[in-house]
Subunit: 358 residues, 4 copies
């Protein structure tokens, strides 16, 4: 706070009721009636105070309080308003300002966030007991901390393989029993929630990041949720979707960047590694990277995984398949168990450099 009064001869010291978290710049010709109506409709939401500053030619309203119910566009609809500027982020529980310490989410004997680098590995789809158990054993040996595998698969085409469903979850649990690895698998509908009773981490895919009814339901289950960023979702929208889960009482949200949709066609999506430091500054939640879906190309997994660790990611989720060209989906981006073993070896010194255990 700048010191008051006389120090700024040109300035005006006045009583305000708190820190402005939204500023409304009024139109030059706004009528008193319009402004009063606007202030009334804002203050009637409760918890917000409007500080009006009237100049000879320009007037401003500074809002103090909880503006999380307020949408900038709705305010801009008023005929009295020239422009609106939100100063504070619209999310609260996911906001680092209110929770300065990193969130660490325990998953079985592993954890996400904190000093360890979480390595989640496994096939795109669970295909058979042999396949999933073999991959699980192999990635565990290489040092993975969790097993991933799709039982419900979101496929662009209704004619493509859609996953083994409950049988897929059963096979994942079998692989967990054999290896002790916690399991991560994707949910596509609230209706399937009870099938996930023994799943360790429930994944919400990119296409469902704004399936708000699903997010609300997951807010009422205590399990860790791995929330993937939508293909064209901003970081603020990702954090607002995390807020949906947290507002329901479930604070165990793992954020995952998995590539955004851009004009570039050399890679399937564009991996936004800058999301890692930015999300970690805005939020206390752990952030992991999916280099497999981001680029869609097996040989790019290794360099991009290294980059992810270097920018500060809390973990990686990597597709590993025992026979990629025969994979029932996403074979192009899967690496073999042998390549995963190499990847782990290459990541260890990088993790150490970043102060992470692997």
């Amino acid at each position: 706070m700048p010191a008051k009064g006389g120090l700024f001869p040109k300035a005006l010291v006045r009583q305000t009721k708190g820190v402005f978290i939204m500023i409304i710049i009024l139109k030059n010709g706004a009528s008193k009636g319009e402004v009063e109506k606007l202030i009334h409709s804002i203050e009637s939401l409760g918890g917000i105070t409007a500080n009006t500053i009237i100049g000879e030619h320009s007037s401003i309203i500074g809002l103090v309080g909880d503006t999380s119910q307020l949408n900038e566009d709705d305010i801009a609809a008023s005929d009295a308003v020239e422009a609106v500027k939100r100063v504070q982020e619209p999310y609260k529980m996911a906001n680092r300002k209110f929770h300065p310490d990193d969130t660490v989410i325990p998953v079985g004997e592993a954890s996400v966030g904190g000093g360890a680098l979480a390595m989640i590995a496994g096939p795109c789809s669970v295909e058979s007991e042999e396949q999933i158990v073999a991959v699980a054993k192999s990635v565990k040996e290489s040092g993975a901390s969790m097993l991933r595998g799709g039982a419900f698969k979101p496929r662009t085409s209704p004619y493509a393989f859609q996953g083994l469903h409950d049988e897929g979850i059963r096979l994942l649990l079998k692989a967990k029993k054999e290896t002790g690895l916690p399991i991560v698998t994707e949910i596509m509908s609230i209706e399937h929630l009870e099938l996930f009773a023994d799943v360790d981490v429930i994944q919400v895919g990119a296409r469902n990041m704004q399936n708000f009814e699903l997010l609300k339901a997951l807010g009422h289950c205590g399990k860790p949720i791995l929330l993937k960023r939508g293909l064209s979702s901003t970081l603020e929208e990702l954090l607002m979707s995390a807020e949906y889960i947290m507002a329901g009482g479930n604070g165990n949200v793992i954020l995952c960047e998995r590539g955004i949709r851009t004009f570039e066609t050399a890679t399937r999506n564009t991996l936004d590694l800058s999301a890692v430091p930015m999300l970690k500054r805005l939020s206390h939640l752990p952030v992991i990277i999916d280099p497999s879906h981001a680029c869609g190309i097996a040989w790019m997994v290794e360099p991009m995984a290294r980059g992810a660790v270097a920018v500060g990611a809390d973990g990686l989720i990597v597709e590993v398949h025992n026979n990629p060209p025969k994979a029932l989906c996403d074979g192009k981006q899967s690496i073999t168990p042998a390549a995963f073993d190499e990847l782990m070896k290459g990541l260890r010194p990088m993790a150490a450099l970043m102060g992470r255990t692997l």
Copy 2:
């Protein structure tokens, strides 16, 4: 088909089994074993025949049959493959090639597709009986063919107004009873499906365009589905989502372009009017435009609605609110009933020019 043989001295005439719908260009050094494995794995899906053309330095496989289960990326995962080119679209039931005539979807006494221009109007959210009935009466008087209104609202923030839910649907039905207008409202979760028993058109919002479980469920209900294009979905993905609904047995799909996400910030989204002629060429399904959500600015509704009719849209869905600045959501883009009346007047000669009744 070019005439055969001697006519092209440099050419080779050969027996192929049909029209190639996917071409696989093999790597120069591909081994016989790899190629045989690839052909075997493709043909074992059933319904596909591989025609191998082997040259001294370059070889190609031309696929004939039903390639809808095949994903280009999966084939490209093979070590033997240099490049893959799909020649035929991956959707079938939504494809105009197989259904040359325009689909016309009757909704009460109105219809979407065919000679009439469908005008769907109403508020973003149903707020009260007074509001929805008043808006319904007003837009009906102006010539609207259906009433829209949100009962379940997908909001970015968990703290924002989420709609009146079942009460909202009850109020829409009240407005229908008073005006005779069929009602259109959005579904956000399979769990709510039975609440939509008396709804005339079920809307799938942009954020749920790839909520495949929801699409499958809607494929089993006979009602018309208004399917909005996702914020960053390609036209092919939109048609694949329509295919999900149609593959379940429900052919009554209305496609809706509502603005895509780009780098531009002057408008909320970028309305892609070129989607109208392109979708109508690729598909037989009707296509409507939502100018309100596309631009997010009330004064732009009128010019963009005119443009939509001019490029051949089958209808419009427009937000109309009796008091836009007081709207509980999306007030910035809502027009008043009086403005809607003006819009209708302005559109009539444009519709007539395009051979549409309004």
Copy 3:
């Protein structure tokens, strides 16, 4: 301006020196020294006055004057600043606020802007005298008001045909002599400027929209400039590029939307027709549409041209080639002279409806 004082009991009336055109929200803990330094560095640019409003917890600086030299990002670099909001557009000469009347640009006997719909037609590249004269005669007969044709061609590949250069301009002038049509052709480098002495309208292509040295040079020639929007340029950036030309003394700028780059692949670019009403609201300059380059597909020219007229475009620039499949560039999007004649016939009633002569 809201009425003063007592009317807003909670408000504060104060002396400000004008309309705020930029608002700086200070950080809660900003030091007096930092704020003073910031104010000093802003005011030292000249023509700007900073009005500081200091509250107990939040402080704001409202800037009055000419902020066109100020960049929001540069101000945001100060440690004292939480957020910055520009209220007034950064362009002045292109701004409708300061020039409410539409600009009409005469070109020979034609004009762009005002009541007539400008139709600029011709081949992508000038290829030969026969070709350009034949196309010129044909499009003139159909009612075109100007002839376009490329002499300098921006091609992605250095190995592709680059145009006939000065010979191309000579042939265009020949076609002008034969038909009386003013000619429009693209400049790619300041060095070629003197070759354009007899050209009627100089086109700046999308790739050169931010070739600021070229824009400055064109600001010193009196000729009309057809300025194409860059592939990923915002409307504000387009207007800033127009401002470069206008700031040099040349107010004859024609804005042209020609498709922006998005994720969609069904069309070459995405034609942003909403740019027309938005640009015409923000600026007094005429706006035309290039449906040929936007979609890259010949059959889409007609519907998108109709849409362009319907949203209020002041003209169209259309590729017409006497033998599109043999065109040396961009054949895919060129229409034949016969198709152009049909296009003109179809556009006439649409133009009439929009109050335009064609």
Copy 4:
């Protein structure tokens, strides 16, 4: 090449003249005349042979030879063509296939590419002798290998500071004399080329990446060119722009990724670190990263610089200003000399891990 004949009973062995580098899939109903015309127009370009493969229902043309003059879209304009697939990249001199070894570009005593990590540091704009000499001394002390500084500045606004021009270059040369650091500075117009006679590396900015006349001119000067990727340029377009320079005889091209334009607003642009491994696979040219412009935020320079080294970048170009908040441009993203010193310290172990000297 798969072994021939009897091994593939379903296959056909035929005489082709080389490796297919473009495949044209003909329309089912294409006429002999159309196909012959197409083949003739392709072969008349010289250096290309068309291999026609005619089946009962589907026909294909495989092109052999140099297809760099051919544009897929131009071929697709033919009425006979269903689809076109380029198999080989359209660039040759920049293509790693034809130049497997990494290109190393010497710059004074430094070099870009090869074992060393090139560190180019300095202010956005040269402002004064004191400033540039001070920054140069400081970054040299910290280990920078080259000095950057803008003399000609591409600014969105014509009213913003445009650089000191020739005086700026003079000051850079002064700083070079004092420190021995080679200098890197941006060119904005061919007309200024002679002012760059003593500059060590000429930078082409993102906005001029497709200023083809400038690229051609730089192809005739022997100096290293630092070519920045355009805001919405694909990697293929970047390599085609490099090809323009190389086709003129100048093989000393340094590629630079500096962020692409996406929908995300949390960062100024989205840094595409996946461009590094992809470009290095496609091309033999060195690739550096500009973390300052990419994110536009000073505190993000350090994590993203680390990420760049981890994915294999050959160097970094970083904005360093002795007083960022007072910088005449881009202060928001500049780091202080002290922060640069810290950055260098942090990068050393990362560089060592990646086998680079720093």
